[in-house]
């Protein structure tokens, strides 16, 4: 007896139709990502809090709770979202974020992109970063004025601190 196609075992070749269940399994994640990217669930998965830079006010969040993602040559990148509030919406020309203190406005870090209500920046996690590092925010006004603030990375992104600790051990 040749155990090839046909006969009683033919049904096995229709098992591939179960592939159709794959998209059903992935559908909830697909819609969750759309909601997250479109801002339907808020600024991000984890709101960090309200920042005050001089006369300006903004809210900061982690887009997702995960650790930095390796993005090709850019290395590990952690995405933060920012919402300018009140007067800052029209007055702030550009916002930047960086792990570690910037030496000048030219090295202020990743530029936030998007509308003032919700902008995103992929912040690089440099080799020198540790759990004690700080996240520095730099705002630059349309009038040329500059304001800065910083917060502990542990407050800004616990998952990044945990990821850095893992990298140190290796």
């Amino acid at each position: 007896m040749i155990a090839l196609p046909g006969g009683r075992r033919r049904w096995r070749f229709h098992v591939c139709a179960l592939m159709l269940l794959v998209p059903i399994g992935f559908a909830p994640g697909y819609f969750q990502r759309l909601d997250l990217e479109g801002g339907a669930v808020g600024l991000g998965e984890r709101e960090i809090g309200v920042l005050r830079l001089g006369r300006w006010k903004a809210r900061l969040a982690e887009l997702d709770l995960g650790p930095p993602v390796i993005e090709g040559a850019a290395g590990p990148i952690k995405t933060f979202t920012l919402a300018l509030e009140g007067a800052a919406i029209d007055e702030v020309r550009a916002a930047y974020a960086k792990i570690g203190e910037p030496r000048s406005i030219r090295s202020a870090g990743a530029l936030f992109a998007g509308a003032p209500y919700r902008q995103m920046a992929g912040v690089a996690a440099p080799e020198t970063a540790t759990g004690d590092s700080e996240l520095w925010l730099t705002f630059e006004g349309w009038d040329g004025s500059i304001e800065q603030t910083s917060l502990p990375l542990a407050d800004a992104s616990p998952s990044t601190v945990a990821w850095l600790a893992g990298r140190r051990r290796r």
């Binding site: 007896m1 040749i2 090839l4 196609p5 046909g6 006969g7 033919r10 070749f13 229709h14 591939c16 139709a17 179960l18 592939m19 159709l20 794959v22 998209p23 992935f26 559908a27 994640g29 697909y30 990502r33 759309l34 990217e37 479109g38 801002g39 339907a40 808020g42 600024l43 993602v69 390796i70 993005e71 090709g72 040559a73 919402a83 029209d90 007055e91 020309r93 550009a94 406005i105 030219r106 530029l111 936030f112 992109a113 998007g114 509308a115 003032p116 209500y117 919700r118 902008q119 006004g141 349309w142 009038d143 040329g144």
Partner: protein
Amino acid sequence: MAHAPSSRRLWFVAHSWLGLPIWGFLFFVCLTGSIATISQEIMWLVDPATRANPPSADARPLGYDEVMARIAEQRPGARLHEMTQPVKPEFALIVEAATPDGETRTFFVNPYDGTIQGEQGWFDFRAFIRALHGWLLTPFDGGYAIGWYAVSALSIPLMGSLVTGIVVHKKFWRLYLRPRLRLSKGRRVFWGDLHRLVAVWSIPFIAIMSTTALWFLIEAILYANAVTVAPVRPPLVIAREAAPNVARSEAPPEPSIDAAIAAIRAKHPDFAPGYIEAPESAYGHVTVYGRGAYPLIFEEAKVNPYSNEVAQSRMVSDRTALELVTESMRPLHVGDFAGLWLKLVYFLFGVLLTGLVFSGMMIWAKRTAGATRALVRDIRVAGPFPEPAE
């Protein structure tokens, strides 16, 4: 001694087996792909908000800046992300904008009077059916989605079916002259005739689909290995000094889309804008994508919103032959570059291809199993070594 199986029979069995083990998956991808081709048209039929009806016979489309001004009246504070000008004039402008609550919304806007006719709800049929067809809704996390590989790998059995099918039916062109579809000789004959008849008419379409899909697979593999076809340019940013300083009491400058397009047209008169991206930041450009004389390729130009000068452009003439080929793959696959008639042609052949997969499965169920048994039996008889008894 029995005859060794002829090469034609081998090709035939190869053809029969290419699609079968995955027929359900292939069927699903062909079906969703066919629907995806006309997803925009389906939305046009279902949702009147996506149509562009002129308010009067002599109405003319507004300029883009005026459209944005009308949107600002209806949705105060909305900031443009991107705007799509559909190829077909029957379709409303698709405007994606951020609203003060922090959400990104998609508006369908009448191009003649700037009315927001409707808003994309929670469910975006067009994006969903594309994601379902193209990557089975699997996530893109720092690379191509796993589903992308699974779907594009189907190009291999599809191309194999095409090649083996042609080899088996070397005189396939006869079917163009004398089509044959026998209805009264039983179901096996009917499905076989239908399969061959549809197949010969679909040869160019299957060749296009399998070649372009194979490229999508190669593209993903190249990306995963950090190989690029086109030279990667550093992102273009406006120098800090070039952005104007504005006193606190004054409103920041607003980019003009019309001025940007005028600047591009001054250099490239046949440029037709299709897709416009607002600057992502105060140091970003207005980016306009459009089609020129060669409809398959999207040309691209970046305009400085403060000086309204073209800072960078990537036209058909700027591309290498290799880039022209690789960048033509997607429009060739989806058929969105010529208008409604081509979409309908793509949909028709998509449905035919879906039917080919189904009829192939039906033929297999009725014949291939037996044919393979016979082939294996012949090989066994012809084999030089006696086989141990089972």
